[in-house]
Amino acid sequence: MTRNARSDRLHEAVRGFAAGDSTRSFGELALEIAAFQREYSPGFARLCASRGGSPTRVDDIPGVPSDTFRLTRVAVHPEVEDRLRFYTSGTTSGARGMHAMRVTETYRALALRFGRAALLSNERAHHVVALAPLLDEPPTSSLGHMMAMFMVDFEQRGPIDVRTNERWLIDDRGIDLSGIQRAAERAEQQRETLLVLATSFALVGLLDALDGRPLPLPAGTVVMQTGGFKGKTREIEAAELRTTVARTFCIAETQIVSEYGMTELTSQLYEATVPGSALAREYCGRVGVYTEPPWLRVIPVDPTTLEPVPIGEVGIARIIDLGNIDSAVAIQTQDRVRRTDGGIALLGRAAGAPPRGCSLAIEEFLASTSP
């Protein structure tokens, strides 16, 4: 069987698994994808070899460090077969990584399935806007692409053009406050549920633009926030940001749901807080606890040995994402996490950088050498 035929079968199997097909378990699929990548990705094969060869347990699949995407191509297929290329951007380091996708259907299926479960709180039609710049074409931001997919899918109006300034409420002049008000009015008039998709730094920008004034949104409005501040604005502690945004929009704090995603991943995690959402019904989620989709597993590992830590202990996140069929099924991040009731508590990057003195930090190096 050719490489692409094997890949296609795996994509089909993962989409089936996400849809409820239990023919193969998470572990079986993860190991099968790892074996596939070991065969077609020399880098991953070397990584496996350094751990003793072919992994036989999910916990043994070595994670490809997320920084690797900044330094080389992480894909089993050649560039000519790329259908989408998502680039990291705006990280503190400034260096850009690239995640190439040969098959987009799996990304779409997984993102929509879990996005619906986390963000949709009722059967009503939704109106979706993004506190983000207009999506570029072709999309280079995985977040922007996902936001656009949500606009089309959640509004249930069939194919619609989402590349309009009415949808993307940040431009060169900053936050379009009147655009948010128009979206709120429209949602009320049409009896739709408003969904605002935003990055954390965009929300801070919005709060700064409002300068303490409220901007009431319709009852039931859901705000999805994602990402760190990435040096783009002043930082606000997560709990304070949530409280302030809820007060400004005149909505309950539970209507604000955090998403965790990375360009290097295909799938996302969400807090299961939105009342009425499928995730909240199933998990009664708490703020700060992220729910994994069934096709993704976070393994907290010891930061020095990269071995799994006992349940409940803090480690750094190795993420097994079945969606990453053509790139890296296991990603090693530097995010500190702890498994807790109902999911994964995200604790941010390691508190306190290593003592640097005058020796150049890797982040500084990447920042200074990025294109």
Binding site: S50, L306, P355, R356, F365, L366, S368, T369
Partner: protein, 351 residues
């Protein structure tokens, strides 16, 4: 500068040199105590402290170098020094520069490594003052050492009229421009291994990348030999304590390098091999990335602002070309990266 002024400035340095000499002497109680205190504060092994004291502490600087240091140092009403922690011997040069600038010197030691400044002061009482906070005023000068982040913080808090001499983050590279005989190569590798191991590579002069003007296969051969040498050296000079964050960075670096190319265990650290287009900066802790390049001097251009020091082995004309290419870095021989001439700050970057 008048002869009288020169002599006055020179005289201020002598007690400091005497203090350094006495603490470097392991046969005295002061020398033994210094070793214990420095091993505790620096995180280096006892052998690592000893190696640094013997190889890097300038106990008998050349008079011509001292003269150059004095003549290149501007005067100040008061000279302030903000010390970094990672390279304990650096306190000596930093304080010497301040003493060359002013009769009144105030030093704030690093909170992580306060011992060296205290030890130097104990051997040279009243030559400078140790303070917990610096408070420079207009007309003063501040020599600050540390990360770029610290330098930026310092710059924003200085009152007007204070001149800042900021020495921020950086790293060293080694450039092997031609592979000579096996014995010559062995000597170069031994020197480079010591450059890497000193201070467990935490200094801004420490080499993190070795560039080879050679084919990839030669890079692999050199990497393997360097890994063996580092392992041998570690048996003699064990690596000290590393933080969890440092060890975590090393684990991630090892796996990233594994994905990119070749990895050789080098005692507690690693030597990795890659292509010139994929620069990978290893974390500190005795790790180095080896790159094969047909244009190694050109390959350095992008990193010029960060380069503090470049060890070079090759033809004199090429060395001159390198010196012109990286004017902010000291160009030296392999094995001498951690002991630049005592003629001014350790690097020549215009900070």
């Amino acid at each position: 500068m008048s002869e009288l002024e020169f002599e006055a400035r020179r005289a201020r340095l002598e007690p400091l040199f005497e203090s350094a000499r006495s603490l470097a002497d392991a046969s005295t109680e002061r020398g033994r105590s210094a070793r214990q205190r420095l091993a505790s504060s620096s995180g280096l092994s006892a052998e690592g402290v000893e190696l640094a004291l013997q190889r890097c502490l300038e106990v008998a600087p050349d008079e011509r170098e001292i003269a150059a240091l004095i003549r290149s140092t501007p005067t100040a009403q008061v000279a302030h020094v903000l010390l970094s922690a990672n390279v304990f011997v650096a306190a000596h040069r930093a304080i010497a520069i301040a003493l060359a600038a002013s009769a009144e010197v105030q030093v704030r030691a690093s909170r992580r490594e306060p011992e060296m400044a205290e030890l130097l002061l104990a051997g040279a009482p009243n030559s400078f003052r140790l303070v917990s906070e610096l408070s420079p005023r207009a007309g003063d000068r501040l020599w600050a050492y540390g990360s770029d982040e610290t330098m930026a913080d310092v710059a924003t808090t200085l009152p007007p009229g204070v001149t800042l001499h900021a020495h921020g983050s950086g790293f060293g590279v080694a450039l092997l421009d031609e592979l000579k005989s096996e014995s010559a190569l062995h000597e170069l590798i031994a020197g480079l291994a010591e450059d890497i191991a000193l201070f467990d590579q935490r200094g801004c002069l420490s080499p993190r990348v070795l560039l080879l003007n050679a084919e990839r296969s030669s890079a692999t051969m050199v990497a393997r030999a360097l890994a063996d040498e580092l392992e041998r050296l570690e048996r003699r000079v064990p690596r000290g304590r590393l933080t969890v964050e440092e060890l975590s960075e090393i684990a991630q670096y090892r796996d990233t390098a594994q994905f990119l190319g070749e990895v050789f265990e080098a005692g507690s650290g690693f030597v990795t091999v890659g292509d010139a287009e994929s620069w990978l900066l290893p974390p500190t802790g005795r790790n180095i990335h080896v790159l094969a390049s047909s244009e190694p001097i050109a390959a350095l251009a992008a990193y010029r602002p960060l380069l503090t020091c470049c060890a070079f082995a090759g033809e004199p004309a090429r060395r001159q070309a390198l010196t012109r290419s990286v004017p902010g870095a000291r160009v030296c021989r392999f094995g001498e990266m951690q002991r630049p001439p005592f003629d001014g700050p350790v690097d020549r970057r215009d900070a």
